[in-house]
Every structure is written in structure tokens, then in C-alpha cells.
């Protein structure tokens, strides 16, 4: 009798509880779906009111809706609460009734127990554990494979591989070019005596035979604009390493007579920065107290494609910082990657443009505390532009996101002001960002700024940039020393002090290191031990940095003489070309062309 009562109560409460919980769940989802206080309607109406002046009807509507939604919110809130208590109470009653109903029931074995075989159960359980664990492990493996970097970034890795392959491609021909044996200096000296027009033809003749492809791309340069793929993306070429794999580079020209000169223009504003080229575009900057500008010239015609002024930048100083006449406001060379170009000025203004001259972003990094003027060139690595922002107060190395100028990483440096530029050295296929400084030569991971190694070896005013070859990084500066550092571990291999550069940066092959001093000496050091192999006194002054192109060394003296040497450790002077225009900038090289910036003009030497 009693049991029946319990059962009936239980049934009734169960039905009620079920209904109530369904109601509550619907209510819950309704509340959640339309959080009354965040209704879009009220929000849009309010925004509408912002634009409509004094629409009384609209305002009234807003007020009504607002009131409604508020009431709904609070009512629902209290409903939910009451409902939950009600539900809980019912469930409690249901539970008590159920327990009372079943209180006398015992789980007594009904029939005779057939004894379980424990061992059988255990064996089964063991199988289940093994099977389950195996299944989970396999699932985990599959999942790990599917979502691991190996799989998800397969495309990324392919891209990386491609980049690496390109890198190797870049390095491979270098060895070929710089192999002194393959180059016959005698031929060039012979050419020098031959009529000028013949020289380039004979020069390219052996190449045409061996490398028809290259020659094919090179020959029609004059007739139709086939753009060479050889780039010169930053100061002293790609990675700022003083080397170019351009081919068919002219070895003779006459600026005053115009022979082998494709075009010559004058640049609107002065600057000591070196031209940079990529595809058909030649980039350089110029600045004076009135404006700082980035120029883009056409490589084929010399036509000024566009000018972009670095103006209207927040934080840019209204008065120019005092700079030395030898440095100027635009000493830093630009950097490009073919689709973007970045330029920095002594004011600390950095701008980034696309190749059509549209400004992408610009910012001021703060006026560098530098008594001659900021001179470090930019370098683009991956998606970032690297600024060696060494100065006397808060030196740092900055990597900015190329697409928006946001700081990717910064590394504060204790260095004093330097005028040297960063380079990228590829060591075992991995990029190292190497910068000179006072007092150290330091390598960083360009991806995150992590310091890889550091060698305290510099002093004085550091103006030259480092260079690298064959896993070794070389750094040199006047009043300090020329050092060779094993870039794998940062250990010092050797040191030399005889002839040191002041402005010009060294360049290295796997056998030789070349150094040009500001008192006109060009030195070939043995890359393995730092012994002097050859020296040349040109009686000039070297501010331009030597460039290794096609197995030859190209360097300008400040008075404007281009000296071409052999790259064989003997420093045979192959040719001297007098241009008559003082030249401080390092020229840019591409297939069959040299772009030179003198103090007076910008011109392109082209093998006709």
C-alpha cells in the first residue's frame, strides 16, 4: 500500500521534473541565444539615432525596446532561478520516493551462482587493456602525424626547401665565378690594348659557348627588355655580402665619351647611399634639410619612375639632426625584396613602399644619437626588415614586420654608435644576422633576435661591415683589427692588424679576404691564416666597398677611378677606368650592367 503511494508520487514527480527541465533547458537556450541586453536591434537603433538628428519617433522606439529588453532580462533571470530550485526540490522528492520504494529490495542472487572464471575475466580484461592502449596509441600517432608540423606545414617546408635550394644555387655559381683558375686575366689585359668596342664581345665569347642559356638572356638586353634575375637587393648586393653572381658585366666604359653608358641622370637630392636594384627597378635615396626622398629609376631607360617623400611621419623631428658632411642625411642604403622597398634616413624615419611607389607604412624609430649621422643600411630577411640602430644612447637591433612595420623583435645592444651595416651569413644552410659594433662582432638569429655568438674585438669608430664566406665571418675596422671568426661557434680563428679599412667593407672568398683602406691600399689576406698575400697601393682613397663579380674585384676610388682586380690572391690590376666623377657609393651589379652613383650623377654601364 505504502509502496504504491511512493511509486505514484515518484511517477508524478518524475513527469513534472522532466517537463520542468525541458522548459528550463529551452529557457536557458533562449536566454543564451538572445542575451536581451546585447540585442542587435537596440544597438543598431542607437547607431541610427547617432546619425539621425532629433528623430523623436526613433528615440521613443529605442526607449521602449530598451525597457522591454531589460524587463525580459531580469524576468528571465529570476524565472531561471525559481525554476531551478523547483526542479531540484522535485528531484529530491523523486529520489526519496524511489529509495523508499526500493528500500526493502536486496540484490540477492536469484538462482544458484555459476561461479565466474576469474582467470577468463582477467584474460579478457588484459586483452581489452592491450587493445585499448594500442588503439589509443595508434590514434595518437595518427593525430600527431596529421597535426604535427611535419604534415601541416608541408607546404611551408617545401617553400623553405625551395628557398634553401635557391640559396645553394646562389652560392654554387659563386664558387665557379671566384675560381681564379677558370678566369684568364691575361685575356682581359690583352683586351685592354684592343679597340674598346671589341672588348666586351671577346669577353663574352667564351661564355656564350659554355653557357648558352646565360648568354641568350644577356644578349638581347639591348634590343628587348629581358630583365635579369640577378638582383642586388641591398647595400653590397644580396645579403650585403659584397658579392654578385651577375654575368657579362662590363669591364670597360668611358663616362665622358658615353661609350658603354646606357644612361646617365642626375639625382634630385644628394646622398651617400649606394644604389640597389631588383628586376627593372633601381632604388636609392637622397635627402637634404627640406625633404627626404626615395627614388626609383628604370634600369633600362634611366627614367625616374617615382619619388616617394618620407614626410608626415609621427615622431619625425622638425629640425634635422646635426650630421657630418661626409655622412649626410641619407647615408643608409635601401633594401628591397622585389615587391617592397624600405629606406631609412638619419632622422630615424623609416618608410616602406611597394615597387610602384605606394607608401605601405612609415614610422620614426627615434632620432639616433649619432655624432656623424646615422649610416647603417637596411637589410630585408624573410618578412622582416632589419635595422642596426646602434647609437650612443639606446642602441638596438630591430626587426620590423615588412608588411606593417610592427616590431617583430628587438634586441638592445650595449654598443656605441656604429656606421656599419648588418649582413646575413648562411652557415650550414642557416641564416645568421651578423653585425659589427664597438666593442663586438655579434651574430644573431634573424628569426627572433636570439644572440648566437659574440666576439669582443672592435674598438674606435666602426664603419665597415662584416662579410662571410665558407662558414667564416670576417670583420675589420681601423684602429682595431681584422678578425676571422668561425661562425659555427663564434671562436676566433685569426687576427691581423696590418692594413685595416675605415669606411670600405671587406669581402671574402673561401681563399682570400680583400680589404680596401682609406689611404688607398688594397690588400689580399690569406683566408686561412690572415697572412698578407698581396698588396696594391693605388694612391687614392677607398670609401666604396669592393664587389666580387665574375671572378673580379670592382672598386671605386673616391676620385672616381674604377679599379678592376683579379680575384686570385695576387691582386693583378686588370684595368683602371677614369670616370672623372667622385664616387663614394658601392655600385650595383646585374647581368651585363653596373649602376653607379657618383656625387654628381647616377649612371648605368651596359655592355653593348
Amino acid at each position: 500500500m505504502k509502496k504504491n503511494i511512493y511509486r505514484n508520487i515518484a511517477i508524478v514527480t518524475a513527469i513534472f521534473a522532466l517537463t520542468l527541465s525541458i522548459m528550463l533547458i529551452t529557457n536557458y537556450f533562449q536566454v543564451r541565444k538572445a542575451t536581451p541586453l546585447q540585442t542587435e536591434v537596440v544597438q543598431t537603433l542607437k547607431e541610427l539615432n547617432d546619425v539621425n538628428a532629433d528623430n523623436l519617433q526613433l528615440q521613443e522606439q529605442i526607449r521602449q525596446l530598451d525597457l522591454l529588453s531589460r524587463r525580459a532580462y531580469f524576468v528571465q533571470r529570476s524565472h531561471l532561478k525559481t525554476g531551478l530550485y523547483l526542479l531540484l526540490g522535485m528531484l529530491g522528492v523523486l529520489l526519496v520516493c524511489l529509495r523508499l520504494y526500493y528500500s526493502g529490495v536486496k540484490d540477492i542472487p536469484e538462482k544458484e551462482i555459476d561461479h565466474l572464471d576469474d582467470w577468463l575475466i582477467q584474460s579478457k580484461a588484459r586483452k581489452y587493456v592491450l587493445g585499448g592502449a594500442g588503439a589509443v596509441a595508434v590514434a595518437a600517432l595518427v593525430f600527431a602525424f596529421l597535426s604535427s608540423p611535419y604534415y601541416s606545414s608541408l607546404g611551408e617546408r617545401r617553400a623553405q626547401k625551395k628557398a634553401l635550394a635557391q640559396q645553394e644555387e646562389f652560392e654554387a655559381p659563386q664558387e665557379e665565378i671566384f675560381d681564379a683558375e677558370s678566369f684568364d686575366p691575361a685575356q682581359l689585359t690583352a683586351d685592354a690594348t684592343a679597340p674598346e668596342t671589341e672588348a666586351p664581345e671577346e669577353e663574352t665569347a667564351p661564355q656564350e659557348e659554355s653557357q648558352t642559356e646565360e648568354a641568350a638572356s644577356e644578349e638581347p638586353v639591348v634590343e628587348q627588355p629581358v630583365i635579369s634575375t640577378v638582383t642586388h637587393n641591398a647595400f653590397r648586393g644580396n645579403n650585403s655580402n659584397g658579392q654578385s653572381n651577375a654575368r657579362g658585366v662590363p669591364v670597360n666604359w668611358d663616362l665622358s665619351a658615353g661609350s658603354n653608358i646606357a644612361w646617365k641622370v642626375s639625382v634630385a637630392k644628394p646622398g651617400f647611399n649606394s644604389p640597389v636594384l631588383n628586376g627593372r627597378n633601381v632604388f636609392l635615396t637622397g635627402a637634404d634639410a627640406s625633404a627626404r626622398e626615395l627614388y626609383c629609376y628604370d634600369l633600362l631607360t634611366g627614367e625616374l619612375r617615382w619619388t616617394l617623400a618620407a614626410d608626415g611621419i609621427a615622431g619625425s623631428p622638425s629640425t634635422m639632426p646635426t650630421v657630418n658632411g661626409d655622412t649626410g642625411l641619407a647615408a643608409s642604403s635601401v633594401a628591397t625584396n622585389g615587391s617592397q622597398v624600405c629606406a631609412i634616413f638619419a632622422t630615424g624615419d623609416i618608410i616602406c613602399a611597394d615597387i610602384d611607389g605606394n607608401r605601405l607604412w612609415a614610422k620614426n624609430l627615434g632620432v639616433p644619437d649619432n655624432h656623424y649621422g646615422f649610416a647603417s643600411s637596411l637589410l630585408i630577411y624573410g618578412g622582416e626588415v632589419i635595422v642596426q640602430y646602434d647609437n650612443d644612447s639606446d642602441g638596438k637591433l630591430i626587426a620590423l614586420n615588412l608588411s606593417n612595420g610592427n616590431v617583430r623583435w628587438t634586441k638592445s645592444r650595449t654598443e656605441k654608435a656604429t656606421w656599419s651595416s648588418p649582413i646575413i651569413a648562411y652557415i650550414d644552410g642557416k641564416a645568421q644576422l651578423v653585425v659589427m659594433g664597438n666593442p663586438a662582432l655579434t651574430a644573431y638569429n634573424p628569426d627572433n633576435g636570439e644572440m648566437l655568438w659574440k666576439v669582443d674585438c672592435m674598438s674606435g669608430e666602426v664603419g665597415a661591415s662584416p662579410c662571410s664566406s665558407n662558414g667564416i665571418v670576417y670583420g675589420a675596422s681601423e684602429y682595431a683589427s681584422l678578425v676571422a671568426v668561425n661562425a659555427q661557434d663564434g671562436s676566433l680563428l685569426w687576427e691581423a692588424n696590418d692594413y685595416l679599412p675605415e669606411v670600405s667593407s671587406p669581402v671574402a672568398t673561401k681563399d682570400y679576404v680583400y680589404v680596401a683602406t682609406s689611404y688607398g691600399m688594397l690588400i689580399a689576406y690569406d683566408a686561412s691564416n690572415g697572412e698578407i698575400l698581396a698588396e696594391q697601393d693605388l694612391g687614392t682613397q677607398f670609401y666604396c666597398s669592393p664587389m666580387l663579380v665574375e671572378g673580379k674585384i670592382y672598386i671605386f676610388g673616391t676620385e672616381g677611378n674604377m679599379y678592376i682586380f683579379s680575384n686570385d690572391g695576387k691582386l693583378t690590376l686588370l684595368r683602371t677606368i677614369q670616370t672623372g666623377e667622385p664616387t663614394f657609393a658601392t655600385p650595383a651589379f646585374t647581368d651585363g650592367k653596373i649602376v653607379v652613383r657618383s656625387t654628381e650623377s647616377l649612371y648605368c654601364v651596359s655592355a653593348s
Binding site: 531540484l88 536486496k106 551462482i113 582467470w119 588484459r126 587493456v129 606593417n404 610592427n406 616590431v407 627572433n448
Partner: protein, 422 residues
């Protein structure tokens, strides 16, 4: 509400220099006085004392009922009190199950100070289990008590399946430790199925899971305790070697078989004569094989978890933030989600984020490997235990599984005899 009862009051005074002041502080001429607001801080000290006292009292009652009275009545009432007090009134926090993570966190994070109450909630049940078995589980743990209270019928789960499933709490424990040690989150608390029911609110998914578990526990004993609870796994070690052990009856078993079906968690093992038809050598060989396989399993588990570490680390705030910021850096035109906005507005540098990202990854690799090894060890030990042959001549309690609910007492005729004599 309840916390008001014994709340201390924090007076607001002084001046914080860090506040922005775009608008100057007004000079009032009318003699306006700043209103004094007080914000209550509940006196947790008192509640902690009450909580610990309740824990001790309830455990005492259960132990007394089990060992002295040998009856289930007080345990049932203890369960009701526990569900009402620890569950509904105190909102389920902090519970012993979750305290594992607090203790683990305290070991790695010096900025986290372990409150005394949490420590006691962690240790007292363990101590209890070592002395008297899982008396905490029976009627003190609100999670167990709730399942126990709703249990009206007992349908058996296949013993082999149940045996295999009992590995899960250990795996859960390994993951809980991993996420606590890496300062990522408290997964036991986040995925607590019953806390939402106690609080009448919370994550709807977890509440639904809790309801499902409760419906299940109407028909079979304590599914959460048996197949999920990581703290129960920990206690089972201590209860299996406890100093005092609960028996179905203190008197000799007469093998009447009445208790055969009584246990809701299948902890009563029937007499079993070892009649396996296999040579002794095969058994020993198997046992040895499984013992030797333990290091292999540990290594495999460790390796697997180490491999999975980057995936597991995604739950971490810093790792998530890193990927969000990186995504934004690559898609600067996209929408700025609040996390990224907060990242930039706090003036944190990418460098800082990268280093903490790597730190977290390092932690995950280390603790992931250890957790994997633990999982391997648990599976190995389980396999070894499952290949041990042991005969029994009477009904015995498997103390590692027994939750000391006392249900079997009333089934044993020996207990009744005693009651009548008294």
C-alpha cells in the same frame, strides 16, 4: 549571501598613483564628502576551519559506522550531509579531487601559495585511506555521495570491461598533473560533471554530462568514481595496503553467497579455485613478459606524449596567445581579437612572448614525457596484476576498489546473528 555572515570588511583608503588623471580631481566648495564604500571579503579562515572540521567529522562518522557499528545508516546520512554541505552549500570547492592539482601546482609555481585547507583536503583522505580504506569516498566526498544517493538499482557491468576501464582514472590523473604542472589549467575542475549541478549553473555541456552520469548511477554504482575519478585512483593505492581493513563480516565467512551481488562497485570477489589449465611455466613466463614490457610501455608512453607535447600545449594561454599574435602579424588587416589587442596594449614584446612560449613548450615536453611514462607504467602494472593467478576460498573485498559504502554488511547473515545476540 552566506559569505556575508562572517565577512571582514576592507576599508578603502589612500591614493593610487598609477591611476590616469585626464580630468583633475574636483575642488568641492559645498563641503562634499567622498562616499566611503566597503567591499566585503569573506573570512575564508572560518569557513576553512568549518570545512576541515566537517571533513574530519564525516570521515569519523563513516569510520565509526564501518568499523564499530557495521551498519550503513550513518553513512547514508553522512552522504546526505556531504551533498548538502560540501555540494550545494559550499558550491563544491575546494574538493579533495581537485586539490591534487593545487598541490601539483604549488610544487612548480612559487607564486602560488597552497592554502592550508587545500593541503588538508588533499592529505586527510589519503591518510584516512592508508589507515581505514576509502572512507572518504563512501560518504564524505560530495561527488561520490551524490552518485550513491541516487543509486537505486544495481545492474552489473561486464567484469572484464570494468577491469579494463579502471585504467582510465590513472590516465586522467596523468593528464591532470600534466596540465597543472605546466600551469595551464585544472582540467579536473573544468571537467567536473557534478559541480554545475551543485551550483545550479555553469557550463551546460558539463551539466549534461553530469546528468548522464547521474542517470547511469541510478542503475549502476558510481560510474564516475570507478571509471573517471583520479583521486579515487590515488586513494586505491593506499586503501589496498591500508592498516585496518574492512571485512564483510568480522566473523568467518560461511560462503553463503548472499553478498555476491550486493556490491555496487563490484569489489566483492567470489571464492575461486585456481583451475587454469596451463602449465606453471607458461604462467610465470607470461608474468615475466608483462613485467619486462613495463619499461617498454613507459618508454613508448613517454615518447608518444613527448611527440604530442606541442598539441597538448595548445591548451596553454601563452601558446594560444602566441599563435593568435603570430596569425595577426601575418594577417595585419584581419580582425584584431581581444587577446591580440590585450597583448599589444600591455606593451609586451614578441620576444617576451616567444620566450614564454618556448618555456611552456619545454615544460610540456618534460612533464608530457613524465605523464606518458606514468601512463605506460599504469598500463604495465595493470597487465601484470591481471596476469596474477590467485585463488580465494571465501568472499573477499578487493580493497583497492571498495569504496566502503557498507552495503554488503546487511547482506551477511553473520552480521545479523551478532546483532541479535547483542
Amino acid at each position: 549571501m552566506k559569505k556575508f555572515l562572517n565577512s571582514l570588511v576592507l576599508l578603502l583608503a589612500g591614493w593610487k598613483a598609477a591611476a590616469i588623471s585626464r580630468f583633475p580631481r574636483p575642488d568641492f566648495e559645498s563641503g562634499y564628502q567622498y562616499p566611503e564604500y566597503t567591499y566585503a571579503v569573506p573570512n575564508e579562515m572560518l569557513w576553512d576551519i568549518i570545512d576541515v572540521a566537517m571533513l574530519l567529522i564525516l570521515m569519523g562518522i563513516v569510520t565509526w559506522a564501518l568499523y564499530k557499528k557495521r551498519t550503513r545508516g550513518p553513512i547514508l546520512w553522512s552522504s546526505v550531509v556531504s551533498v548538502a554541505y560540501f555540494g550545494f552549500f559550499r558550491g563544491g570547492c575546494v574538493c579533495s579531487v581537485g586539490s591534487i592539482q593545487n598541490v601539483a601546482l604549488a610544487f612548480v609555481d612559487n607564486s602560488y601559495s597552497l592554502p592550508l585547507a587545500v593541503f588538508l583536503f588533499f592529505m586527510i583522505p589519503i591518510l584516512g585511506a592508508f589507515l581505514f580504506g576509502r572512507v572518504f569516498c563512501s560518504g564524505v566526498c560530495p561527488l561520490g555521495a551524490l552518485q550513491d544517493l541516487v543509486n537505486v538499482k544495481n545492474y552489473r557491468i561486464n567484469k572484464a570491461v570494468a577491469g579494463a576501464l579502471s585504467v582510465i582514472p590513472w590516465i586522467y590523473l596523468a593528464f591532470a598533473l600534466l596540465y597543472a604542472l605546466t600551469r595551464t589549467r585544472f582540467i579536473i575542475c573544468q571537467f567536473d560533471p557534478f559541480i554545475g549541478i551543485f551550483r545550479l549553473g555553469g557550463d551546460i555541456g558539463m551539466i549534461a554530462f553530469g546528468v548522464i552520469l547521474l542517470v547511469m548511477s541510478v542503475f549502476t554504482g558510481r560510474p564516475f568514481c570507478r571509471f573517471l575519478c583520479p583521486y579515487g585512483a590515488l586513494l586505491s593505492i593506499f586503501s589496498s595496503v591500508s592498516v585496518f581493513k574492512i571485512g564483510i563480516t568480522p566473523k568467518p565467512c560461511i560462503n553463503c553467497e548472499l553478498c555476491h551481488n550486493s556490491c555496487p562497485v563490484d569489489a566483492i570477489e567470489a571464492p575461486y579455485g585456481n583451475k587454469v589449465n596451463e602449465s606453471n611455466r607458461t604462467g610465470v613466463k607470461r608474468l615475466l613478459a608483462y613485467m619486462l614490457i613495463i619499461p617498454v610501455l613507459m618508454a613508448a608512453g613517454g615518447l608518444l606524449m613527448r611527440q604530442a607535447a606541442p598539441q597538448l600545449a595548445r591548451a596553454n594561454r601563452e601558446v594560444r596567445l602566441y599563435s593568435q599574435v603570430m596569425y595577426f602579424e601575418d594577417h595585419p588587416d584581419g580582425e584584431m581579437i581581444p587577446e591580440v589587442e590585450a597583448f599589444y596594449s600591455q606593451g609586451r614584446t614578441l620576444e617576451d612572448l616567444i620566450s614564454s612560449y618556448e618555456e611552456v613548450h619545454k615544460d610540456f615536453r618534460l612533464y608530457g614525457t613524465l605523464a606518458g611514462m606514468l601512463i605506460g607504467l599504469v598500463i604495465g602494472v595493470k597487465l601484470v596484476r591481471l596476469s596474477l593467478k590467485r585463488g580465494r576460498k571465501q568472499y573477499e573485498i578487493a580493497h583497492s576498489r571498495c569504496v566502503a559504502c557498507g552495503k554488503c554488511f546487511s547482506y551477511c547473515p553473520q552480521n545479523r546473528v551478532k546483532a541479535k545476540v547483542n
